[in-house]
């Protein structure tokens, strides 16, 4: 779907991280967790390309999708100036999202902005009555966006921050390992850190359960036409936008 839609909310969640809501019933009704949209809403050709953002919440009842993004460059800086009523071009939903969680329970493990695409997954698992264990890390407490939502939809949430501002210092993948010993997990979902991804992969292989990772790459078209966004997989290069952004973890070459 390529359409023009209206911004309904923009708020700075913590310094440099924003929440953006867009009213688009069509996309809200089609999207599922792990998918993304390409968004553009500025005049002129600098920056030129649309920016890919993962769905952070898909509210098909309100006809709204929610994104959470960090200002890292000019595109996201411009984005942060959009106000309710501003009209933006949205192409989406795009890509293959996360395979639907199955009982008894799933683990999600993410770091920093990598927790963004995990939230709708956690929310949908909860809606389906599937258990959720969330393992979240960030450099500091502020980097853990919407921790309350993760808490309210998870059986248990483990939090680690590099500076110890929330949760004891430590490695969240070790928490996952510990939990996996005592809990039956059907799958692990991962995003936002190569290190965590490698740890999750090894654990999943050991547990013989599937594990998935959501990847990022610079994108041109977002639909598989330009072959610009490849990552290395065991079969050679795969298109992050079309073959992913979610891949089976042990298919990916890190």
């Amino acid at each position: 779907m390529y359409l023009t839609a209206e911004v309904t909310l923009q708020e700075e969640v913590v310094e440099g991280i924003y929440r953006l809501c867009i009213f688009t019933p069509t996309i809200a009704s089609l999207a599922y967790p792990g998918q993304f949209a390409m968004i553009r809403g500025w005049e002129g050709y600098d920056p030129l390309l649309s920016r890919p953002l993962s769905f952070h919440r898909i509210d098909f009842q309100c006809g709204q999708v929610e994104f959470v993004y960090k200002v890292v460059g000019r595109g996201t800086a411009l984005m942060s100036k959009w106000r309710p009523g501003h009209r933006v071009a949205v192409l989406g939903p795009l890509g293959n999202g996360f395979p639907a969680p199955v009982a008894p329970a799933v683990a999600v493990i993410g770091r920093g902005m990598g927790t963004v695409p995990l939230l709708p997954l956690v929310e949908s698992a909860r809606r389906e009555g599937i258990g959720v264990f969330s393992f979240l890390s960030a450099s500091h407490a502020g980097g853990l966006v919407d921790l309350d939502r993760f808490m309210s939809c998870s059986d248990q949430v483990f939090v680690r921050t590099d500076d110890g501002s929330l949760g004891a210092p430590g490695v969240v993948s070790e928490d996952l390992e510990r939990v996996a010993k005592s809990t039956q997990l059907s799958a692990i979902y991962c995003c936002g850190s190569r290190r965590l991804a490698r740890a999750a992969r090894d654990l999943a292989i050991f547990l013989r359960i599937p594990a998935y990772v959501s990847l990022e790459a610079h994108m041109g078209c977002g639909v598989g036409a330009c072959k610009g966004c490849v990552c290395e997989t065991k079969d050679g290069y795969s298109k992050v936008c079309k073959d992913g952004p979610v891949f089976e973890l042990n298919e990916v070459v890190f």
Binding site: M1, Y2, R40, G44, Y45, D46, P47, L48, L49, S50, A89, L91, A217, H218, M219, G220, C221, G222, V223, G224, A225, C226, K227, G228, C229, V230, C231, E232, G236, Y237, K242
Partner: protein
């Protein structure tokens, strides 16, 4: 309503708008905004003789009003292309142009031979910007290699041949003449401009391939200038491209001397771009009292500067 049909030598298009090779999916990689059958032609991503993986990532980097790509022509190889892609292309119901990329001049000939008898192909476009094996410069930058590559293709096919020229040359008109003398029917002016970006924090080039080709609005005035020069000095139909985003941009190329236009990066930022361009050209012709696209091809050359 003005007539939008354009005749490019042996090739007739119902309207002058087509995608630039490598930037638009005619099948499932289509952003789905409109039916590709509405286009003057569809143009496939360049195909190679043998499967090739393409360049290591990152393959794209944005620049002011531009995009550099170093995709490097990954290809499933011509056999798989004929098997898997041709049915999709045929199905579009419009003119089908297949772009080919060789690593040697002979490969252009071989590719042409392989594709000549495949039903549903209306023209071959030679992507001459690919680096060749065993020589520094791409085909499009070396007069001798250029002639060899085009001749090799010409010798093996009766299909119309589009030579897609490199802008990275001293005299694109002279190179165009070489391509025509070697048997090309149509010129595509022009491919991307050599460019690169360095990451000042990592202190190394951003692209996996170090350098790539710049496209987008940044190069539009360069491409218009190239079309203008070639139109002045060479008698052959021109497909103009480089930075076309709006119908106004497309009209600029037609006035400069292009008979058709190819749209690249614009498809990324507006999947409806080509449809809007077709409609916009139509509207321009109608509102300005022209009867056909052909009426405005090269028109900016002939109207005297009134002051």
């Amino acid at each position: 309503m003005a007539c939008t049909e354009v005749v490019l030598g042996p090739l007739t298009l119902k309207n002058p708008v087509m995608p630039a090779s490598g930037t638009f999916g005619y099948g499932e990689e289509n952003a789905g905004a409109f039916d590709p059958g509405e286009l003057g032609a569809v143009v496939a991503k360049s195909v190679r003789l043998e499967p090739a993986p393409g360049n290591p990532p990152p393959r794209l980097v944005e620049t002011p009003a531009g995009l550099i790509n170093a995709v490097g022509i990954p290809s499933e190889g011509v056999d798989a292309f004929i098997r898997d892609q041709m049915p999709l292309l045929r199905q579009t119901g419009t003119v089908v142009i297949v772009s080919i990329a060789g690593s040697t001049a002979l490969q252009y000939g071989e590719l042409a031979a392989r594709l000549s008898d495949v039903p549903g192909i209306d023209a071959l476009e030679l992507n001459l910007s690919c680096p060749n094996i065993g020589h520094g410069l791409p085909f499009g930058q070396d007069p001798g290699l250029l002639a060899e590559a085009v001749s090799a293709a010409r010798g093996n096919t009766g299909l119309p041949i589009i030579a897609k020229m490199s802008p990275n040359v001293t005299d694109i008109a002279a190179m165009s003449k070489i391509a025509l003398d070697a048997g090309a029917d149509i010129l595509a002016i022009a491919n991307t401009v050599n460019a690169m970006v360095i990451d000042i924090w990592k202190r190394r080039p951003v692209l996996g391939n170090i350098a790539g080709g710049l496209s987008g609005p940044a190069i539009r005035p360069v491409a218009v200038r190239n079309v203008w020069r070639v139109y002045e000095q060479v008698k052959a139909p021109i497909i103009g491209s480089g930075g076309i985003v709006t119908w106004q941009d497309a009209v600029e190329f037609l006035l400069a001397g292009a008979r058709a236009v190819a749209v690249g990066v614009a498809n990324f930022i507006n999947p409806n771009a080509m449809k809007e361009i077709i409609q916009g050209i139509q509207g321009y012709l109608d509102s300005q009292g022209f009867e056909s696209v052909e009426d405005i091809v090269g028109l900016a050359h002939t109207i005297g500067r009134s002051q």
